[in-house]
């Protein structure tokens, strides 16, 4: 008897039809009739799960009827067509063996549990249909990202997580230490002989590799000790940070656009069943949104143009809570208007006011703006942030001085501008922000296996 997974069953369905196979997995639901039983079976390898049907000819019929929801079982049976769904067969069981029992007070019951409740049992929620969909999309999207870059010759770089830099000047970092309480305040005694923290970006180290391999990307965890309890903030999340040599801001937008569409298309193609479920679960519109994005062209406007559009809307009676102002940051409602009301497409907003952006961004000739770009997408707001980097040694170090960032500590970063520097650009994308967009699930806590937020570090 061939032991197979539901994935194999799907892939080789035509060939396996009418054959006897063995599957191993869990009982999601179990409905019993006097002389029959129906088991919603899953092994997590395929989103569409075959129903297992058995009748009272089954050896141990009575015992099998007592199998609880949540139990692990081994099922042997014949693959037969299902009248419910031509793509997912039924298994006519000839044997069902209990691998691992599950008590009746199992926390996951075949009913609708709230997302909040499921967070409390985060170690069990991957067994629900919702999280089977979400975490498969997560895995497939991660692979799509690697494939996109590797197919194009980008080098995957593991930038360090423990760092002695406070590079972005972002503050809000986690301290990493092995100091005992009595040695506090004596960094020389610490593991690295100096204060260290968890990295908030891998970009700066990424740039050092772009100056050697031209095209590189990072994909790793990132940490922010921000004390904010919103739907989109977590203290630990994953980021993708590509960096491209000999690439200016307009070329960067080309890459971002191609990248995003490619990832969306791949996930649409590989996770059709998961996305169809998520589309229903999240109230509809998800598949339409993703399909539209894959076929759309991203608009490109300067920050100044964007503000002008917003102000015109305001003058024409559109009501914003916050007034859009030249030289200032945009609010979520502004992003929403631009993508959903005005352009009906993703929008690159570029050339941002210098004072609200980071020190390493290319300073434009106007003296007021930098070559930064945010990609706004309908339904999710800012998805990527990038810039052409300041490659002129004098301008970079002057800006660092102004902002109190030590060019001596960061000698290796500024030296990139002295040792064969070139025009280069890069962007960052929070992986969970992409997943919120791809799954329609709107809370970051529900797209991460085990979320870390203020006062929450369970499992």
């Amino acid at each position: 008897m061939e032991v197979i997974t539901t994935r194999t069953l799907k892939e080789r369905l035509a060939e396996l039809q009418g054959q006897t196979v063995t599957l191993q997995g869990w009982i999601r639901n179990h409905r019993k009739q006097k002389n029959m039983g129906f088991i919603d079976f899953f092994d997590g390898m395929c989103f569409r799960n075959p129903q297992v049907v058995y009748d009272n000819n089954l050896k141990d019929f009575a015992a099998v009827q007592s199998f609880h929801i949540g139990s692990a079982i081994r099922v042997t049976g014949k693959v037969v067509p299902s009248y419910r769904d031509p793509e997912t067969p039924e298994i006519q069981a000839s044997e069902i063996v209990l691998e691992g029992d599950c008590p009746e007070d199992y926390p996951l019951q075949p009913k609708k549990h709230s997302l909040e409740y499921l967070r409390e049992i985060a170690y069990l929620r991957p067994r629900t249909r919702l999280f089977q969909a979400v975490f498969r999309v997560r895995s497939v999207a991660a692979m799509a990202i690697h494939t996109y870059f590797q197919d194009r010759g980008y080098l995957y770089v593991h930038t360090p997580l423990i760092t002695g830099n406070d590079a972005e000047g972002a503050g809000n970092t986690f301290t990493v230490t092995t100091l005992k309480p009595e040695d506090q305040g004596d960094p020389a005694k610490d593991f690295f002989g100096k204060p260290t923290s968890l990295a908030v970006t891998g970009q700066l180290e990424g740039e050092t590799f772009a100056m050697a391999f031209s095209n590189i990307y990072t994909f790793g965890p990132t940490f922010r000790a921000e004390n904010s309890n919103t739907k989109t903030h977590a203290a630990e999340f994953w980021m993708i940070e590509p960096e491209i040599a000999f690439c200016d801001l307009q070329q960067l937008m080309d890459i971002e656009e191609d990248f995003l569409k490619n990832i969306v298309k791949t996930v649409l193609e590989k996770c059709g069943d998961e996305l169809a479920f998520l589309d229903k679960f999240t109230g509809g519109g998800l598949l339409d949104k993703l399909t539209a994005l894959a076929g759309s062209t991203c608009a490109r406007v300067t920050h100044e143009e964007a503000i002008a559009i917003l102000r015109r809307a305001m003058e024409n009676g559109y009501e914003f809570q916050f007034e859009p102002k030249f030289g200032e940051d945009t609010a979520k409602e502004h992003e929403k208007y631009l993508t959903e009301e005005y352009f009906h497409s993703p929008v690159f907003v570029y050339n941002w006011p210098k004072d609200i952006k980071a020190f390493y961004m290319y300073q434009n000739d106007d003296g007021k703006t930098v070559s930064a770009v945010d990609l706004l997408v309908p339904g999710a707001g800012e998805l990527m942030g990038g810039s052409q980097r300041e490659t002129r040694y004098e301008l970079l170090t002057k800006r660092m001085d102004e902002l109190g960032i030590s060019k001596e500590d960061m000698y290796w970063y500024v030296n990139l501008r002295k040792f064969g520097g070139c025009t280069h650009s890069g962007f960052g994308m929070g992986f969970e922000r992409l997943l919120i967009y791809l799954t329609g699930v709107d809370n970051i806590r529900d797209v991460i296996p085990y979320f870390r937020t203020p006062m929450n570090c369970d499992f």
Copy 2:
């Protein structure tokens, strides 16, 4: 004029022969004759780099002759065959433009620098041929690992890095905190409201996902605050930890063997040029070793059999520094003897003495051993460590009690044994250990972009 990379040049060489192209990259070496010049050019996209040749017909000939090593340039020229190497053409330059200058005291000169020196300029070493090879192998191997698992339906899981568990009881963890000095000792005031540290493994969380998706893997950073300065220890490294439901110890070995051979074959196939260079650089034997591994069958012996083999060798006059003893761990010299002298192949050593292995391993009927397995490979020793997991609730919790590991804190882990548990197994592989094996470079500091070791946290 088409702007291309050296990767495109290699892929489309036949078509581009005789055409004029533009390349962008850096000068690795520059040899000048009276009426000619030769530039060793690289852009990091392909290990084999074309030589750029120019003569005094070139516009700005004198200026170009003054271009320094390390400078970024844009080269336009005709693709012509090279007499040195049929696979790598030369570029007969019609224009060479300086993108970014480099001073003459550039720390990377075209001579042999010591590895120790290169570690001090780790932000520049990716530009050397050695590190172009090492980090390309690193990137390709990472992708091969993802591809192996994704092709087989494994779910990629990002297990948390910040954890409240001290799961393996391994000690030696880094504390993660936002406590100010004055709040030390008051974990309730810390970011998560309790003491947290950096994870030493993702296995336990991985198991929770294997109980939902059957086959899963992790690939992420891992941290050990071990104060050891050896060639194989780093405080921050990357690990791969697959976990497989409905899989026993023998099946696990099948998977480990197939996985390892597959990765080695993929890297041999995709990094031929890099490995040929590394083979020479490391004194020869690397390609033979890898090719042999890809075609070998791994031996399988119990720990008891392995000790018996070692003791027989000792009795026959083979000299070990440490006596091999039943019930005790093996030393590096023992591993070397088993793989290189006795089996001439990789060796799985399984059924290890219970007392030297972790609490979660399946306890064998003999009462003395657990279903653990180490994979030893010729030339590198232990490469993977795995086990069938203890799935019997009573035996697991009894063992945790014996070792003082709180089953209350770890309720979610032990509950996996109550809620539809099943036979399952998994292994861990340190990514850098694999890279040491694949590249022949013997120091972990030289296979990580920026290494973190005691008193070292630079860049």
